[in-house]
Symmetry: C3
Subunit: 462 residues, 3 copies
């Protein structure tokens, strides 16, 4: 076994616990891998830079923070302006600045990925950049995404797909006879946020994919229900909803329709948009009660904080920044309606760790419908996981949490991320045993729950 991230005090017991789960299949119920990778057996993985640098905002945001222009890293400009195309040159820059990732999870993922997927044990730096590039490129010429999927021992991989997506890659995968389980997730943000510039276009798309004629709030709801059924038919078990805040509000049918009409006529106000989003979260929770899709809510990212980056490079370019969150008051209208339903599963994610012990754990430790997602985004790290356990479990227990999801766009980093989680679990549980808070037999069950069973159950992946 490669060296593990255990504290010296817990290492011996943590190793024993970890070995029980190290080789369990990976449950990946939430993430952003492109399903196209698996649609055709021969889909190519590209260069080392295509695979490891260009799609990974964790990496290029750090380089950018130290003054390296995104253009020099090959990140495509929306206006078609020239960016670096020499991937060896980009790799050299990355390698020379790899020291920036010391002590970060990104540094660990990259190192573990190079070692475990590409057989590279040297630490990346400016001197060995070319040699390592060649080694990775050679390996990439040999392997295909489906092989990696199997080699990674992935039991199920959920992608995240716009409500208007045709899911054509998913259909192709399912028809192909390949045994890998890749399923979609219904994400309706673009058709819900009436203040988005592309909202009208997305409603038009929704009309097309559902054969609807959306002209009021009720035809809109019907189209969404229709769409959820389509996602379910292709294996989806969950939906995903992102919002800046957890604000919810139940509007009367008249109010909801009035806002919807204003939106159609491009007259909606910013307040309309917030209220509409808040209302739709409740509508979606009610739909979940009916169709059984697990509902995920991701709260707290201020998207596209840097206008220059957005203008030049678009969304998801490392310029999303968290804001403080509030759940107790904000979710009350939603919980008043559906919180007591044990057959609903509503999974909350937060970018504000101060809400873990103050709001999220007390809420999840009471409402049957609520469960807590694992540490998200900036907190998907060894310290982030430890804080999550320490702040959440004493109030909510582990059985109101849902295990792990890697939430990644970087397909080859999946095993490294699950390994980090599983080691963090083993380390934490070993500490509980040593402090006589739980006994060894508890730990033996809990480590499997956290590494595998909770995610499978919560996302209804049986």
């Amino acid at each position: 076994m490669a060296p593990a991230y255990f504290s010296p005090e817990t290492a011996s017991l943590a190793t024993e616990l970890y070995q029980q789960v190290a080789h369990l299949p990976l449950i990946c119920p939430h993430g952003h891998v492109d399903p196209r990778l698996f649609a055709e057996p021969d889909y190519p993985l590209g260069t080392p830079v295509d695979l490891l640098v260009i799609p990974d905002h964790y990496i290029f945001r750090m380089l950018f923070s130290q003054g390296i222009p995104l253009e020099s890293l090959g990140i495509p400009r929306r206006d078609g302006a020239t960016v670096e195309t020499d991937h060896r040159k980009i790799w050299q820059i990355f390698a020379e600045h790899f020291y920036l990732f010391r002590g970060t999870p990104t540094g660990i993922w990259i190192r573990d990925e190079l070692r475990d997927v590409f057989g590279i044990s040297e630490k990346l730096n400016g001197q060995n950049a070319t040699a390592i590039y060649d080694q990775i490129a050679a390996k990439l010429a040999e392997i295909r995404p489906r092989q990696l999927f199997e080699q990674f021992n992935i039991e199920v991989l959920a992608t995240t797909d716009a409500a208007t997506d045709s899911l054509s890659y998913h259909r192709t995968i399912q028809k192909s006879g390949w045994r890998g389980r890749v399923i979609p997730t219904f994400r309706p943000d673009v058709v819900v946020n009436i203040d988005r510039p592309d909202w009208h276009e997305s409603i038009q798309q929704l009309n097309e994919v559902t054969g609807s004629d959306i002209r009021d709030f009720s035809t809109y709801l019907r189209a969404l229900q229709n769409r959820r059924a389509y996602f379910k038919s292709l294996g989806a078990t969950s939906t995903d909803h992102a919002a800046l805040t957890a604000y919810t509000e139940w509007l009367s049918a008249t109010e909801a329709d009035a806002i919807f009409q204003r939106a159609l006529q491009r007259n909606a106000t910013r307040e309309d948009a917030q209220r509409f989003t808040g209302h739709m979260l409740i509508e979606f929770a009610r739909m979940s009660l009916e169709d059984g899709l697990v509902m995920q809510i991701h709260i707290g990212a201020y998207r596209d904080h840097n206008p220059r980056i957005f203008e030049w490079f678009g969304r998801d370019k490392g310029a999303d920044i968290p804001v403080s969150a509030e759940f107790t008051r904000s979710l009350k209208p939603l919980l008043d309606q559906v919180g007591n339903h044990a057959d609903l599963t509503l999974i909350l994610f937060s970018l504000d760790e101060s809400t873990y012990s103050r709001e999220l754990a007390p809420l999840a430790g009471h409402y049957p419908a609520l469960k807590l997602g694992p540490p998200w985004w900036f907190f998907d790290s060894l310290n982030g996981m430890r804080r999550f356990f320490d702040l959440v479990v004493e109030t909510a227990g582990i059985y109101n949490t849902v295990g792990f999801n890697d939430d990644t766009r970087a397909f080859p980093s999946i095993p490294a991320r699950h390994q980090m989680w599983r080691q963090a679990c083993a380390d934490w549980l070993a500490g509980l045993v040593q402090r006589h808070i739980i006994d060894r037999s508890d730990a033996d069950e809990m480590v499997v729950d956290l590494a595998y069973r909770l995610a499978k159950q919560a996302y209804r992946l049986d």
Copy 2:
């Protein structure tokens, strides 16, 4: 000694420190035990479920969160609807779900209580549920609350009592000649929160118990002063005040009376209610300056968050959820008036741990009147205690804190809770000694201060 919650690194020194305080009497200056238990020598403790499940919202909130209806746990309905009455059946449900409490303080308390009070060393589960029920029931048939009080080595136990309470049980206890010290605490929330539906009724009760004729703000204040004197005469040394926020504001006599009149006429607004509560916190602080009662303020619980639970089961049923808190600006009007008085003791409790280092420790490390209560409610746990020490002491020292209080409704859990605190103190102090932050002689004094002396002094229980 039973296994302790010490880290392996500190265990040896922590054990030495703990042994110095393990057998000190328990100071219980704040809690919610029913004084009736001690009014008659033969008061029965009921079934295991009466004692351990039905009164403990920590327990049934967790079971409820996993979809178990409160009715099936025997929690009485306000409307008299049928609930489970077979306590063996309830116990079976509890036992089958005891695994939910893995890693929680409730799990530790129950385990320690079963072991130390009832002599049960097996881990509770579905298989041994009946046998353990029988063992507890047999013990409960033998013992009485006063015996437990003595066996627990409780030096003093403060209850929490509505300002309008007759304190008849306290009078009975004191007349009975029993040597146990059980004292009341003056809690005026119900007569202060003018937006409560039962406010008028409680003012009427206040009239009755004080022989007053409350018709304006000054007669109201006089009735409260009168009542405080009565509580003092029965041994009270402190008052307790709960509020959603720490908002304080000093109103002119005219303003205060105008709001009071609107309240009497059922015309008070929500804003009136907030301002009145904020003003009354200052009035009570001024009364404390006069009569010497220690003032406790508990901030941050959104009460009765779940309307269905409130409607069917009432208050204190595990559906109170914290909200974020603010002290620096909110308490300023109060502190402007009384903060510099060293002869006032004002003890603050927070459910928002982000205020520990940011606001509470800096405030308590400056104002002579302020002290910090121990970690409260969801944070009365090993991690909660460690975070409290780590976040508060560097700025405020331990001498601006007030030791421990168990704040419990669950009488038999008192020793387990104090034991957890005392072990958490010993563990923390051992770490400080090992890191050469304090020396051993400091630790020897501090452990006794934290376990015993600080609570006794702060609550004026000498």
Copy 3:
């Protein structure tokens, strides 16, 4: 070596790492030492109380919190009322209450200072107070500030100076031929905060020191630019800005001038003041882009919270209390203008630790202009440092931080403070190595970066 603040588990490796930096020169890029100390070679250090008690609000705020009047500690009254002048008596009080500092950084600094600067190894208490006073006094009679500066191995010491300051002591130091590097820092708060009672006076002073005739916003800006150039000419490499909140807003030239005119005419509103401060932060960032001065922003202290203390004793008397902070939205207007400039260095300090992982690390891990200052004020402690590392580095890396600054008014505490930081770094890094998060060669570089290089680079002190 004196005992170090290492955890037993990391002590061996941490000691090795620490020894690599223990004797490096001290970089002190931000602090509040009085430059007068170094202007003349024979400047006297005064009594032990002059040196250690009266200027140190960390010390007297703790004593005050326990009911000791500031008058009895010799803190001068603004109204000239009598305060204690017998320094032996003051020292006795301090010594008797030194136990209050158990577990606090102040307690550690004092102990280390007494040991390393004054050769005193006994723990201060009421019994040995006089003997220790005599020992310190004897030493103080012998040494002078410049000698201490050299003995402390200070490479550079930056003071903090009002924009209107003549910097006469700095000029004297530079002319004196002494080789110690003492440089000023440009702090314009008093001429920026238009709601300060002394604002008009400070504008008058600004006129005088710059030979300006400030009558509108543009003459005001020119005077400030002029002043920055003067500070630079005396060695300044940075500016410092304190504000209650991080609010920024870009005003049009017309708006800015309108507010400025209202301020001149004493008609500015509170809202004007906030907007003006928010605008000036952006103006200063733009000036930094031009003149290359590093810009520091300290956010979140509610100044002079205790009106009685302010009235009697003035500013900086231990009565500043943090408030919650917000950066993501507040700094956006500033970052929209200058955030992408890699040649600007903007260093943020926060008193709200909940912003570390939620806002500050994500911002600094993206924007080229942003870096994070070390834990500040109440958090300049072992736990504060560890929380900073644990919350910030995983997202921002260490290369978006700026090492340490002692930020102290207490000159002789400088070595103790740097030692604490360096040991905290070594301890943290040793833990990372042990958990295989970084390797030993990474740690060897990082410890020097954190102890020395990062501060030197970020503050452009090469």
